[in-house]
Amino acid sequence: MSFKTQLRVWLDNRTGIETAVRNFLYENIPASSGWHQVLGSVALFLFLTQAFTGALLAFNYAPTPGDAYNSLRYILAEVTAGRLMRGLHHWGASMMIVMVVLHMTQVFLYGAYKKPREATWVVGVVLLLVTLAYGLTGYLLPWDNRAYWGTVVATQIAAQAPVLGPYLVRLLGGQGEVGVVTFARFYGLHVLLLPPATLLLIAVHIYLVRKHGVAPEPGDEALPAKKFFPEQAFRDTVAIFIAFAILFVLAVAARVPLEQLADPTDTTYVPRPEWYFLFLFQTLKLFEGPLEVVGSVVLPTLAILALLLVPFIDRGRMRKVTERTAAAAVVVLAAIGWGGLTLAAVASTPQQPIAARVDFSQPTDWLEVSPVEMAGIGYFRQENCIGCHTVGSGKPKIGPDLAARSIRNTALWMIQHFKRPSAMVPGSAMPPIQLSDAQLNTLAAFLLKLNARNAEALQSAPDFAVEGALIYQKSQCGSCHSVNGVGVKLGPPLNGLKQRRTEQWVQDHFRNPQALSPGSSMPPYRFTPAEMEKIVAYLFVLPE
């Protein structure tokens, strides 16, 4: 015996590991086994990936409402590969739901839950519910507006449950509103309670699959059984690889948004649950008034009960999948119902106000700058300065890097340079900028603010905010008001306007200030509807 063999035998005698792996891999499976049975393995793989990425996220995440948001922004903007980790976890969650449902659909279509495999099915249904519970609890953890308001709706639905409602709410820590306690409970469920429960359920599920064997189809009795390894293991691997490739591409290419920090006073926000809960959300709308509980609690409970009871209702002998037309019809009807409700929910979703669409998953330094600097970004874009200049990073262009400290100069120098470039910089190939003195001053203000660290963040300022700031400048709002500490304090400072007023109020106030603030010395402003939208959105996106 070679040394390697000796070592293996020694180890197996002590631990039984090789025998166990062998027994596992060389399990008999029916002759009909094939590609349709890979979905459960993919779901298991996705769960393990979620556990891995989740643990990594937890390494840089502070699970309390105030810090949760900041630490997530830190993960996204500062930690290397942080955005990828969150992408994997976010899209992995959705893919896991899809995969669990597909797995269940396959088992349902084939009737693989029939005697003696009822318990396997029941455990599987519980695993589906657990997967959904991850989705529900994880949704709150970014603590942005989306997370907060989605959870407010979810806990209020739970509160409607007959008899259990108030207890459920207390268990979830929602004493009337979603706060620190709810957050702690959701986090505890998401990372402490659900994962071991899932592992246990998966262990039971797999144990039952092994105990009863993979469900055979009629005709399998006559054929010799196959081994799981390597052919079926190969199929599982290929399916897992494809799923992982899709997940990885999504995580790299599809940006997961982060909205502004949760604001419980926000009256304009339209709460929406995650896509896989939209159908439930829509079901609610079909029932009004005292009947609401039917949509929120009775129907979902009945649906879960029906799922659990499937193997006890359909108790006939095994038949070929092609003969199970009733099962196929149920699947088609369920898919149509689910798809219809989801589409209806998407179609009826009102658009979020512009300010709610700002992506906070990247640095938002532009929120901190003064209106004149912000308006400068507008002229910077209008004059297409980046056609000839690099800003901070990127391939060198014909003009100098505008974020470089070395080219920084006084505003006066800059304005003269803009008017006659070659006068200030002999030999400059830059064409004169055709703007008024005030506009050039605005542009200079932005360039003075620019440096290598904030260049990217400032340039990512959304158009509505830049245009809003331009209107702010043109209307000379700054001669009475202040934004981010810059301006005059004759009128009220405009930061935090969102917390004080509604958009409608601000619009009405622009048109006729005295009607809403008697004694105000503010003149009326006649903005076009487009201008009105932008200036209000700009004012409402400002930090408090």
Partner: protein
Amino acid sequence: MGRIRRAPDDSPDSRRGFFLTVIYGAWSLIGAALATPALLYLFLPPKVRTEAEWIDAGDITKLQPKVPVEVVFRKNRVDGWKITSEKQTAWVVELPGQKIVAFGPQCTHLGCAYHWEDAKSEFLCPCHNSVFSVDGAVVSGPAPRPLDRYQTKIENGKLLVGALDEPGPKS
């Protein structure tokens, strides 16, 4: 068209070999695609977003040569996702040649706070008796390296203190 040649690898052995290749290959790729970002995530330092600041640490015109003074100032410290404003101290001393130096307040041995012994004209760390001279050099004791220094500059008679220059984990 041409005859379709029967693939020579249809034997059970080569089928098995193909399956094994795909299984090992695919799992290696998945493992690498998860492990690489995980290692980057854990081991690469995060981007630093705040600009290095210069903090006013007070007037230096009253400094006497070779008499260190303990100066207290507030500094913003970036700690992960938090920026905290905290008290920091420096031992500021004017060395020969009118060179102003600001030492970090911790002994380079194990990080205890040291102090200036006026009588002996040296810095003494009470923990393990490390002794430093007025220019920060190790005189005796277990300290492995001279006192760490803050970056400094002087503007209008005021001392501005920047980052503390600490040698890396291995100096």
